[in-house]
């Protein structure tokens, strides 16, 4: 059963990357994000993080953002889950 955060995060990535409906459903923990998806430049990453803040009701500090966080879907989801648990 996907968690609410999981579902919201797939929706956010669908909107930011302009994915087709259902495409984000195929993401696994190992699906590569930054570096694998050519669309994710710094402006898009900034938009993605701001959208995560708004829709997941979390605050992300700029120094929390590093390459590892955006490496895979799994690492981004783990970060979002931890943020929401501590919010």
């Amino acid at each position: 059963m996907p968690t609410e955060t999981d579902q919201l995060l797939r929706r956010i990535l669908t909107d930011v990357l302009g994915l087709k409906a259902g495409q984000a459903e195929g993401f696994t923990a190992e699906t590569g994000l930054f570096g694998h998806l050519p669309e994710l430049d710094s402006m898009a990453v900034a938009g993605l993080l701001t959208e995560m803040e708004d829709r997941l009701d979390i605050m992300i500090e700029d120094d929390e953002i590093d390459g590892e966080l955006l490496e895979t879907y799994g690492s981004l989801l783990a970060f979002a889950e931890a943020k929401r648990a501590s919010a």
Binding site: D15, V16, E39, L40, S42, M43, I65
Partner: protein, 224 residues
């Protein structure tokens, strides 16, 4: 759809020519569209123009003026201020005889108050600024330079700041932080339009269904 020139007030009390994209057949119902700001203006330009085409078919004229310092404008962006932009949009509304207004995203902070109108997915100055600064921090980090929101903002308030290729002056940065949408407009949120907001996309795109939905909301509202 044709470009038209209009006289725009400048900060020194003078006037400079600016462009507007117009669907103007001299009809009674005339919508002024205040565009989205900065990078979002580029990503939403296609949608905006597609909405204008649909409104034209519905018997409504529309005018999309450039904000001074943006798009085709010859004015320096660095010298612009939010209050100057509001004055510019009020001048455009008067020049073109607008009867209604639409503000898109950050443009919702600049719509001429007296006109009845809509705000599509309005955003606040502080969040636009935060995102632009964040993009700069991420881009700088890739080149090994460490920057922070606070230090960049401090630097910007003193001598201006370049964010995502836009050179913003100290007055704009200062006023922008507290700027919010002009009250009184009806809000059109993304759930009404359907799909994901095109301003979120990494690349400029277009969406026929979204253009249909936004044009329908406007056409029905203007006819009422």
């Amino acid at each position: 759809m044709t470009p038209a020139a209009w006289p725009c007030p400048t900060p020194d009390g003078g006037s400079a020519e600016e462009y507007a994209l117009c669907c103007d057949r001299g009809r009674a119902r005339r919508l002024l569209i205040v565009p989205a700001l900065f990078d979002e203006a580029n990503r939403l330009r296609r949608l905006t123009v597609e909405v204008m085409r649909r409104l034209d078919g519905a018997g409504i004229d529309s005018i999309l003026p450039d904000l001074p310092g943006c798009n085709e404008s010859l004015q320096p962006l660095e010298a612009q201020t939010p209050m100057g932009w509001r004055a510019a949009m009020a001048a455009a509304a008067a020049h073109f005889g607008a009867t209604h207004v639409l503000g898109i995203r950050g443009g919702a902070m600049l719509t001429p108050g007296p006109l009845p109108g809509w705000h599509y997915a309005p955003s606040k100055g502080a969040s636009i600024l935060r995102q632009l600064i964040r993009a700069r921090i991420l881009a700088s980090r890739e080149t090994g330079i460490s920057e922070s929101q606070d230090s960049l903002l401090e630097q910007g308030l003193a001598k201006g700041l370049e964010l995502a290729g836009f050179r913003l002056g100290p007055v704009l940065l200062g006023e922008f932080q507290g700027l919010t949408p002009v009250p009184g407009a009806r809000i059109v949120d993304q759930d009404t339009i359907g799909g994901g907001g095109l301003w979120l996309r990494a690349d400029p795109g277009e969406d026929r269904d979204q253009a249909d939905a936004l044009a329908a909301v406007l056409a029905i509202g203007i006819a009422a």
